[in-house]
């Protein structure tokens, strides 16, 4: 695609009504309008095309991007780094262990102290139900206040890199993958997607991925089935979001109690483990109480409970029951692959391997999704800015 074609493509996009994204955050997909969600997809695709054409979209000559990871991360960490680097920002990690935060400092203070010359703050905080998203909102409010009080010369944009409620950069990447796989967002209408629990020998996985998926995919008129064993329910408020979304988009949303039902004639399957809701609740309490013994007992009980549902595995046989035996398998990665990363896990090696390359391509959207979220928060007229960048066509290498 040459420069002229790229500009033509940008002009053909809607990229409209992004005013409210300007100097704003990206915390939950369901906080965003349809136009805003579409603007992220469109901007992400243009940035990806520019990269392919060796056109640099560097818009910052300097500026920091703060990263705060309260849980491990590989994919999202590198996606965030890549996105920031692509736009010209330098990541500075806020390592709470090496800071003075334990000193009793308020969130309001820390948020301002790290933001004097920062344009973006990316946070992963997904361990405690009721805490992660709340913390992000407190940070966002703090820097917003700092900006209004002229403490900060710019308003840093907060990007949710996974919280207890949503994992928006993941769900948006997954959705962009579906849009490209099915050749257009319109083709997602009525497609059946099975977001199902799957067995894993590991403990305490957040609920944010399944919640992010049902909270986003229900917006596109899809037929969303959520399946899990008894006790592995998700947050009520996210279920309500999914129900409302599906009504508004003339789609479907249903909770079923077996993988079989969910997989039957599905166009897309997303089998993935998560922790029982009550375990996540108890864990939060025990952690706050520093009850190590209680936590160990809880882990033991949880893993034993998981074992009851070892049959929740994405097998070749199950895949055969999907639409034409050919549903698209998705995962946020890394998956627990039977015989590869564990003796018994979420998916059979054969199934995983068949869809390995599409999954890697799926993961590859995340840097551009994050870059798009940042881009849209920094430019009032993103379309104009993108055209300017393509016209300038500064080579990346």
């Amino acid at each position: 695609m040459n420069k002229t074609e790229l500009i033509k493509k940008i002009k053909s996009l809607s990229l409209k009504n992004t005013d409210n994204m300007f100097l704003n955050d990206f915390l939950l997909t369901w906080d965003k309008t349809h136009d805003e969600i579409m603007a992220v997809f469109e901007t992400a695709e243009i940035l990806q095309l520019m990269r392919k054409e060796n056109i640099s979209p560097k818009v910052f000559d300097s500026g920091l991007a703060v990263s705060l990871f309260r849980d491990n991360s590989t994919r999202t960490r590198f996606s965030f780094s890549s996105a920031c680097n692509l736009l010209g920002l330098t990541v500075q990690d806020l390592d709470e262990g090496k800071s003075q935060i334990a000193h009793g400092e308020t969130v309001r203070e820390t948020s301002n102290m790290v933001s004097f010359l920062s344009d973006v703050i990316g946070i992963r905080d997904d361990m405690y139900l009721g805490a992660g998203n709340k913390y992000m909102r407190e940070v966002a409010q703090s820097v917003n206040q700092g900006y209004q009080e002229k403490v900060l010369p710019q308003r840093p944009t907060l990007v949710n890199l996974q919280c207890d409620i949503d994992h928006p950069t993941q769900a948006m990447s997954d959705a962009l993958h579906l849009i490209n796989w099915f050749k257009g967002i319109k083709n997602l209408k009525n497609k059946k997607i099975a977001m199902t629990w799957a067995y894993s020998p590991s403990y305490g996985k957040p609920l944010s991925v399944p919640q992010g998926i049902i909270g986003l995919m229900t917006r596109f008129g899809m037929n969303v089935k959520l399946a899990y064993p008894k006790g592995y329910n998700l947050m009520d408020k996210v279920i309500k979001v999914a129900e409302n979304n599906s009504k508004n988009s003339n789609g479907k949303f249903e909770i079923v109690n077996s993988m079989d039902k969910a997989f039957k004639d599905a166009d897309i399957v997303y089998p993935k483990s998560w922790a029982p809701y009550s375990v996540m609740e108890q864990r939060t309490k025990l952690l706050k109480a520093n009850d190590d013994k209680g936590l160990k007992n809880l882990e033991k009980k949880c893993l034993e409970n998981n074992k009851k549902f070892v049959s929740w595995e994405c097998t070749k046989e199950l895949m055969n029951t999907t639409k034409n035996g050919n549903a698209l398998y998705m995962h946020c990665l890394p998956a627990d692959i039977t015989g590869v990363s564990c003796s018994k896990g979420e998916v059979q090696a054969e199934v995983f391997e068949k869809y390995r390359i599409p999954q890697y391509i799926e993961a590859g959207y995340k840097p551009y999704i994050i870059a798009a979220m940042i881009f849209l928060s920094k430019f009032k007229n993103p379309s104009e800015k993108l055209i300017e960048l393509v016209n300038k066509a500064k080579p990346r290498i």
Copy 2:
């Protein structure tokens, strides 16, 4: 402020006699002449104005800035990162745990090995009396020698990010805050500033902040009162610096033994905890001897001793005794706020909150102070270079 006004402002500055800052370090404020101190303030303010006007002061196309933090840091770490990033340098942390330094390597060797393409070295080393500043001087001497021996193609500038003696980037930011608050350095003449000890439930805080404050503020003809309980004295040599400074600037410097005396009619108060001098001395010995038990006992004794002075708190009542009941409250942050970060601390929440925004603005000068220190060490004619940058007016975003 538009380009023309900015250039006019730069031309109106003295920014003179910075020759000796070129290819030199910033270790102690009292090593610097009046003109050099003024040049840092002036350059910092211009850099801050440029940032507000979205003019990038990037002067390095590449180059590393080495950071070495031997103690925790949030504010200074992000200020250093921000300053380096603003000028075009990339921070590479020297993590002694992940290096081969334990291997018995000399300071001279490490200093050169990390400096082949490095323009700046920032060090925090504030834990041991008699050690931190000494270490910095050894590093500075090593890279200077390396530069002269043509081992290094450039002379890296060392910036003291807090040592056992001084915390120059903090004291300079504090002073710039005062200059702006009182609308000109001339207005600091005869202003009464109370640098006083305050109670904190924490242990082993360095002496470098109060030392830095009395070592710098005595240069501006201020009336500096230092107050602390028995045993919390500072280094003799810094007291002598303060005495000399105050003589030369026709100011005052006095040590008093109560907050009341220091606060009475003060224009500015700076209540902040630090460790007893003898505890810092003993700690250094015990640490060198790896005497864990001795260290625990010392901590216990020190905290018990602190408790005797729990009444050293910056209260509303005390604030009422200051000039017009309206002195400016300052702190290097984070403060130990009673009822917020601890049950009993340095300052009442009400007092802290009243001055919260000015304090955040105070902290916000640090990135520009550090950037100015680096800038002045890299350009022989800083005024000319600043005008060149404003004329070019490359947008930051």
Copy 3:
């Protein structure tokens, strides 16, 4: 050297036959042709000259460089950071402790997940015989496959920052030092170099430095003597490489059993400790079995064994036996210096000190060697690109 002279110099270089370096890795020097090795030296020298002339060779407007250090590093870490920074890349460390790799993720997956916008991957993995280089090849193969499957928009180049077999960035820097010291690669012909084991009180040093030296220096027609005590032999396959190289270059390669023999009339000496081969083999097994007690016993045994050869020290007396008593002393640093970094070590302080500056200069080539390896993997016509950069002559500062 002005622009015209620099361009004249670039045009005078051969820099030929680098086609196979394009989009390729640098894992072992003996995988590379003579022309390729020469191209690295030539490019490194031009980059160093450009830096001296304040000409920026930044060729990337954005892009990540992944670093993965499975062993401690100061010199190589900063050299890698410097090289990447010089070319315009930003280093993002892959910290396996903070990632989800323990989760059972495959090397293939991790390699792709960190590479979506990455141009370079630098790896140090030197602890386990038979493992480090193998791991690098798996990473290289994975990203190559990812590039071919269009998962990755670019082919990241892998640079071996030390493995179990070779330490190519070290050996190449050492060789460039020799070329400059003896004023031309032709003058290395028949020069006698003593790569000898030396006593050290430390344990488990990799074999990759001596292997790298004999694997590379034998290519230049040098007279290479390898000396070690019984049991401290190197990998058979590297010995074979050295034998073949020396035949092809009309040089000599011989293993002797004393420092005396190796040093006698040597032009260059490289005395350096390494672990006994059998210890490295056992350690790998014990580590895989998580046998902590076994590892402690092994360390004890190894250190005791080392002590038998405490006389293997590079002394002034030994140096007197070299060619004109004036051989060039080399070390990859940090050295175990008797009376400085340990009570008894590899080299006497007096000998070390005499050659300290040349050694620092030797170490200073590494950033340019790494930058050259990256540069040659990214440009099909490196000579043309270098001339373009010199013509543009963008100032670094």
